[in-house]
Amino acid sequence: MAAHVELRELWRSFGAVTALQGINLSLDTAEFVSLLGPSGCGKTTALRLVAGFDQPDSGQILVDGKDLTRVAPNKRDMGMVFQAYSLFPNMTAEQNVEYGLRIRKQPKADRRKRIAELLELVGLGHAGKRYPHQLSGGMQQRVALARALAIEPSVLLLDEPLSALDAKVRVQLREEIRRIQLELGITTIYVTHDQEEALSISDRVAVMYGGKIEQVASPAEMYGNPATPFVAEFIGTMNRLVSAVADDGYVDYGEHRLRVQAAEGLPRGERVLLLVRPETVDIQPAANGESPEGAVTGEVVSHIFLGSTTRVRIEDPSGERGMTADVPPARAETLAIGTRVTATFPPESARLLSLADQPESYAPDPDSQ
């Protein structure tokens, strides 16, 4: 089946800065794809190109096989919800939703019916007569969503629509966006820098960095099998241990030799990034002076209480190597700071990324662990 929306080799520069470097992305009909990445990675630039507010230097944007690259934004038939509150302040919620329908010269009776349906859909059937300044931020974004959907767009574009809202409303509204998207079966591109948001509501996630797409995958695959060191750093919390392949099925992390199934068959001595999720790490008090094979031995240096788990950090005496483990809070209480412990993980749970194309000096960003 041909893709509903296709971005082909999109390049865009602003002066000396190259914001997009040959983006390729395909979306099937009714698919929800998130563009996820840090500030300045090019995700909003890509979305603005799709919406028609900006033009690529080269490349194509196709919807149902039709080239829309040079088509004006008002002729693209796409609905967009903006990061900023974008409701027209001089119009009520109803009038905002009606705006696109009036432009399309739809009969008044049809317009009234559609407005009522959409405001009901976003849970604001009672607030149609209110002006934007009489609505909360969350309500304004709901009206903006209803307004974008009113024109029955072929593609829905959402540019960080929840970033200005408080945490609780953000979670509520992102679930509603997903519910509405599934209900209407509308192809959606969602831009966000919040990985939790992207992973929780998307069919697929495209992680962007430095104007490129690093990986496109389902949330589960992205979390379990990050394709690049950046994705491993960006998605979730991850122990990223610069190691070298030792014997078959083993890697050396400093003086710690660790059993890793993924290392089987790899050439000895190859530099690799060992990826271990904290929730797979088990911590046990170490016997005096003992440093068993297959474990990282060190001292507990910090506890971070996260509600359902406590994040425990251990470091070896040099302070250069260590691991992080998520353990139940009650168990963490038995591991006081300074306790000598060993950390192990199931050999099949760890992933390896080759560092062959990374500089010798490569070190994981400690802040993004």
């Binding site: 974008s86 027209f88 302040p89």
Partner: protein
């Protein structure tokens, strides 16, 4: 609960400020009540004289017409220009801001002499242009009103997120014209009205250009009658003052109604 009270010193300053404005008005009013022949208080003869003077009505109508034409041309010229500058050419804003200050620093007498010389001697403009207040005077008044309209509109455009509103409108299928007419203009209405009424006040009081270009507008009428009839001149001044205040009151009422629906949108970019 503690009630907010106005400080006594603030009351003193308010009273002093009010007196500063009201005493000349009161003096003019008392002066205008002097009898036309006797010069003694109190008679409304001067007001009767003015109201029955056809020149009063002719000139005030002309000045109002010129003000309206100036407002229309000014807004038609500057609203799309300033909109475009805010949207596409924000780097030009300081330059336009500087240009808008030029009419403040060039005295009207220099402006009118320059304009007359340019049109007469350089362009050899025909009489139908130079002799018509609706063409020559309105052209000069648009220049005079430029700073007032520009700074009002600029403040209006800065109070809304022009980019997001424009993109939201276009995304819903609107053309540039529809966006300007249905989204942008209603949201800068108060700013446009402020510019309009400032322009009205300026044109209603502009004497130098009209006089030197030999047009008979309301300010030249006032000057004329002031030479011939002192008491009616005071009455005419108060009448024109009242008319201008009515215009200001209307902007206040319209602005208050519009202001209730105006919110700052966007979180910047």
């Amino acid at each position: 609960m503690k009630k907010d009270r106005i400080a006594p010193s603030a009351v003193v300053w308010l009273v002093l400020g009010a007196l500063y404005f009201l005493i000349p008005l009161l003096a003019t009013f008392l002066f205008s009540l002097r009898g036309l022949q006797s010069g003694k208080c109190c008679s409304f003869g001067s007001y009767g004289f003015i109201i029955h003077d056809p020149n009063f009505w002719t000139t005030i109508k002309l000045s109002f017409r010129l003000a309206l034409e100036t407002i229309v041309i000014g807004l038609v010229l500057f609203v799309p220009t300033i909109y475009w500058v805010h949207l596409k050419l924000p780097r030009l804003r300081p330059l336009i801001g500087f240009m808008a200050l030029v009419p403040f620093v060039i005295p009207p007498i220099i402006l009118v002499v320059g304009l007359l010389k340019f049109y007469k001697d350089t362009l050899h403009a025909p009489f139908w242009f130079l002799g018509k207040p609706d063409l020559f005077l309105v052209g000069a008044y648009v220049i005079l009103a430029f700073p007032y309209i520009y700074f009002s509109l600029d403040a209006g455009f800065r109070s809304i997120d022009v980019h997001t509103l424009t993109e939201a409108s276009q995304n819903l299928g609107a053309t540039w014209r529809t966006t300007l007419g249905r989204v942008i203009l209603p949201n800068i209405r108060v700013a446009a009205l402020s510019g309009a009424f400032l322009t009205l006040a300026i044109v209603m009081g502009e004497f130098t250009i009209a006089s030197l270009a030999t047009f008979h507008t309301f300010p030249t009428y006032l000057q004329q009658i002031n030479q011939d009839e002192a008491y009616p001149a005071a009455a005419a001044t108060l009448l024109s003052f009242g008319i201008t205040w009515l215009a200001m009151l209307s902007i206040l009422l319209i602005g208050r109604r519009g202001g209730q629906r105006t919110v700052r949108v966007g979180i910047g970019r």
